[in-house]
């Protein structure tokens, strides 16, 4: 359904171009930095720069999931209500609307996975991004990806519940909430760079731990000689935090979804059109 506005090949190109362009912005920022950095010819400095670049690049790759899932899930209700005007037919059909939203979110995750894989492969093959995934870490990687994506979908459903009763602010919120995560979750820089209050905000968001865990699994051990994240605990501790927060957001999403749906039904806004 996400690709029904164009032919498949063009949709594939579209799905790749945006995230790869975002990744290239980081590449060029890094290039600009290395050109003007004092002492950039020193091998030790170059090694540190490459480690930091790999840190930034991997974080940006996984943020593709965050942006696509949150933005896409947030907009499902508005899209069905305002653009396609099919929400009333889906809503009265004998399915769980919550499950329907999850299904639409799953398609966003699938498209994002494709874009993330392309982006990461490009970084490894052409940009010198250093990744090392040990065989013993594969189960941890699979479980952490599953929990992280589940958490993202749950957060997305929480936001989608808000769109039941909003009109003009959906787009702003859909961009703003991922923007908050973009800044505070250590996506493009370790949260140690932020002021203390910013670090505390970051530690309260589960996405921070998901990104940190993926980096710990994928990046070589010597990366941490040059990057300090200020996130304490071993991998299993981070995984446990992720599990707890995923469960918490799942239950919150159910509560908020039911509440938003109830308020919208009571006000007769399930299928309202507002021209936004």
């Amino acid at each position: 359904m996400d690709s029904n506005w164009t032919e498949p090949l063009l949709f594939v190109v579209y799905s790749i171009v945006k995230p790869v362009a975002g990744a290239f912005i980081l590449v060029l920022m890094f290039v600009a930095f290395t050109v003007i950095q004092p002492g950039s010819a020193d091998p030790a400095v170059q090694a540190a720069n490459q480690a930091r670049f790999s840190f930034v690049y991997v974080g940006n790759t996984f943020f593709i999931f965050v942006a696509a899932t949150l933005f896409g899930t947030f907009q499902v209700i508005q899209a069905d209500r305002e653009w396609y005007q099919t929400i009333r037919y889906v809503y009265i059909s004998p399915i769980s609307f919550y499950t329907y939203i999850i299904g639409r979110a799953a398609s966003k995750v699938g498209v994002a996975a494709f874009a993330a894989a392309i982006t990461l492969a490009f970084g490894i093959l052409f940009l010198g991004v250093r990744v090392s995934l040990a065989v013993g870490d594969i189960p941890l990687f699979v479980v952490s990806m599953f929990l992280g994506l589940l958490c993202l979908v749950a957060i997305g459903v929480c936001l989608a519940a808000v769109s039941f009763i909003t009109a003009r602010h959906v787009h702003g919120l859909a961009e703003g909430i991922p923007g908050l995560f973009f800044l505070f979750c250590g996506v493009l820089f370790p949260i140690s760079v932020l002021p203390e209050w910013g670090q505390n905000i970051g530690r309260a968001i589960p996405i921070t731990y998901w990104l940190d865990l993926e980096r710990r699994i994928l990046l070589p051990a010597d990366t941490w000689n040059h990057v300090t994240t200020n996130i304490l605990g071993d991998n299993l501790y981070i995984l446990a935090l992720l599990l707890v927060s995923t469960l918490a957001f799942y239950f919150l999403s159910v509560v908020l979804f039911r509440l938003g749906e109830y308020l919208a039904r009571r006000a007769g806004k399930i299928d309202m059109t507002t021209a936004y």
Partner: protein, 294 residues
């Protein structure tokens, strides 16, 4: 009894009328203060902290000369990000409030009313542009001021008249481009929304919104000059930051870039006029002016 209205007066009235919603209406609800000034700062802040992360060792160095040089260059790069983030507001306004506007009007059902009204289509687009510049400008100024204050950017205003000239000519060229795109979008259906979405990150990349565009190489930077924001940002950065901090990372000198921007502004405005007339005839012939939800 009918009154004869001067055509120029009529089109000026149309221009004022079309800009009115963007100058007055868009500011009625105060939520714009949060959504259109505070939220963009989040994205800017993220890119600022990328540079902070890169420079973290150099800033903490025991070598005072190295530390000073690093701070000067960090200030320049942070300033680039703040300026680029501010210019993004104008580019997004061009994409979503200029280029896509006639598409939205078609979806809502207003387009045929505009086509029937006795005014020049350019007056319609001109009103959208004037209103867009005002609306985005108020937000951009707040974002710029807060960004400069919050991130401690130090600017060197060496030639204020040239800075203002570059800025305003860049806007004229940008919105002229937007007016040209608006007519192209008359032919599109749902692809219009996705086309605008597609022209966000790739344009941020090739125009150097967050880094000196020369980092792409001189050839690509010159090619990217077709986007007015490319040379506009390059010139503004040269005029606002000490040349010693980033020597050799400019496409051309500011005066040359200003002249190119003037040419772009004229060319885009002419193309907007020609393409609007042609595509209106084409859309009428193929019956797309009133086709909604395509």
């Amino acid at each position: 009894m009918t009154a004869t209205v001067n055509r120029v007066t009529l089109n000026l009235r149309a221009l004022v009328g079309r800009s009115y919603p963007r100058i007055i209406g868009a500011n009625r609800e105060p939520s714009w203060v949060f959504f259109e000034t505070i939220l963009p700062l989040l994205g800017i802040a993220a890119y600022v902290f990328i540079y902070h992360g890169f420079f973290v060792d150099a800033i903490k160095s025991d070598d005072a000369v190295l530390r000073t040089a690093a701070l000067e260059r960090l200030n320049a790069l942070v300033g680039f990000v703040v300026l680029g983030g501010t210019m993004i507001a104008f580019w997004l306004n061009v994409l979503w409030s200029m280029a896509s506007q006639l598409y939205w009007e078609k979806e809502v059902g207003n387009l045929q009313l505009y086509m029937m009204a006795p005014m020049s289509r350019m007056a319609l687009l001109g009103g959208m542009a004037v209103g867009g510049v005002f609306m985005t400008g108020t937000r951009a100024i707040v974002t710029l001021a807060v960004g400069i204050y919050f991130f401690g950017v130090v600017l060197v205003v060496s030639n204020p008249l040239l800075i203002l000239a570059v800025f305003f000519v860049t806007l004229v060229a940008l919105y002229g481009m937007g007016m040209m795109f608006a007519s192209l979008y008359l032919l599109y259906g749902r692809e219009a929304w996705h086309l605008s979405a597609l022209m966000e990150e790739p344009i941020f990349l090739v125009s150097g919104f967050y880094f000196p565009v020369k980092a792409l190489g001189q050839t690509i930077a010159v090619g990217a000059a077709i986007i007015p924001a490319t040379l506009g940002l390059d010139a503004l950065r040269q005029l606002l930051f000490p040349p010693s901090s980033l020597g050799g990372l400019w496409v051309a000198d500011p005066v040359t870039e200003l002249l190119v921007l003037v040419v772009l502004a004229v060319v885009f405005l002419i193309l907007a006029r020609l393409s609007l007339a042609y595509l209106e005839r084409l859309a009428k012939r193929e019956g797309r002016l009133t086709s909604r939800h395509q």
